[in-house]
């Protein structure tokens, strides 16, 4: 059986990856929108995005819109593949434990 991806499996990171994967390829979410969707605090969200970025699962782009800084987070191709594998693993766990009973 495939292993669980510990980077993605953490609850908040799972929510971040789920949100980004629900978007079209190469589309991202602004930090504020991601914060609202996941219900995370600024610090917590920032730390987990950094973890995902270090793993190469998301890319972070900072830009200025007018005078306001805007951070956009996008799932990378590697991140999308890892997320798809993780979901498949979760489904496999459910299917396997269901057939054991």
């Amino acid at each position: 059986m495939a292993e669980i991806d510990d980077i993605i499996h953490q609850p908040l990171r799972l929510r971040i990856m789920a949100a980004l994967n629900a978007l079209p390829v190469s589309a991202g979410l602004e930090f504020a929108r991601l914060k609202k969707l996941t219900g995370a605090t600024d610090g917590n969200l920032g730390a987990h995005i950094e973890t995902l970025a270090r793993a190469g699962y998301v890319s972070v782009e900072k830009a200025f819109v007018g005078k306001k800084p805007q951070t956009t987070v996008t799932a990378t191709a590697a991140g999308r593949s890892a997320f798809a594998r993780h979901v498949a693993t979760l489904q496999q766990i459910i299917a396997t434990s269901g057939s054991d009973k």
Binding site: A18, A19, A22, L29, K36, I93, S97
Partner: protein
């Protein structure tokens, strides 16, 4: 290794996020549409109130600009949102919806005041029904605009079209801005 219940909880969490993102994208696009239509409808009612003899041409212009703006917003947002809100089928559905509204006005021999009340109620009824699938904010905005339209129709005199400029036009703009924040 995680067990079955943890895996189920994780998948449920993923489904919940996908649903939230989908609703957020719909609200984002809908808010832009509502602000645009609100501004146009505001102008349409203002023209109807101030220069009633030009009301028909004013409303034709409102719908022409509105449909063009709708197509533009849909195309401009498509790569980012992935939501398709304008194509030939949607356009034809909208055209049939308008045609049925015109037929109702003709069949009922509606006067200008009835027409001013009918269209927002007709639009907002469909809007509220769509909200049962798209998000309850649509239902709330639709029902509030219908209630205020009926109140103006029943109790306001010659200022009804001015009232509608603020209720329907202003209501859509405020509803759109509120939706953007939610």
């Amino acid at each position: 290794m995680i067990d079955r219940s943890e895996a189920s909880a994780a998948l449920a969490d993923i489904d919940d996020m996908v649903r939230r993102v989908r609703q957020s994208r719909i609200y984002d696009l809908a808010s832009q549409m509502m602000v645009m239509w609100g501004a146009l409808v505001f102008v349409g009612y203002l023209v109807t109130y101030l220069v009633p003899r030009h009301a028909t041409i004013g409303w034709v212009a409102v719908y022409a600009i509105g449909i063009a703006g709708w197509a533009w917003l849909s195309i401009a947002n498509r790569p980012r949102s992935g939501v398709r809100t304008f194509d030939l089928k949607i356009f034809l559905a909208f055209a049939m919806f308008l045609a049925f509204g015109i037929f109702c006005c003709w069949l009922g021999h509606f006067g200008p005041r009835q027409i001013s009340a009918f269209w927002p109620i007709y639009f907002m009824t469909v809007y509220a029904i769509a909200g049962l699938w798209l998000g309850y904010a649509f239902v709330a905005i639709g029902l509030v605009v219908i209630a205020l339209t009926l109140a103006g129709f029943l109790w306001l005199g010659s200022a009804f079209d001015l009232w509608m400029a603020f209720v329907n036009g202003g209501g859509l703009v405020l509803g759109g801005l509120w939706m953007r924040r939610s």
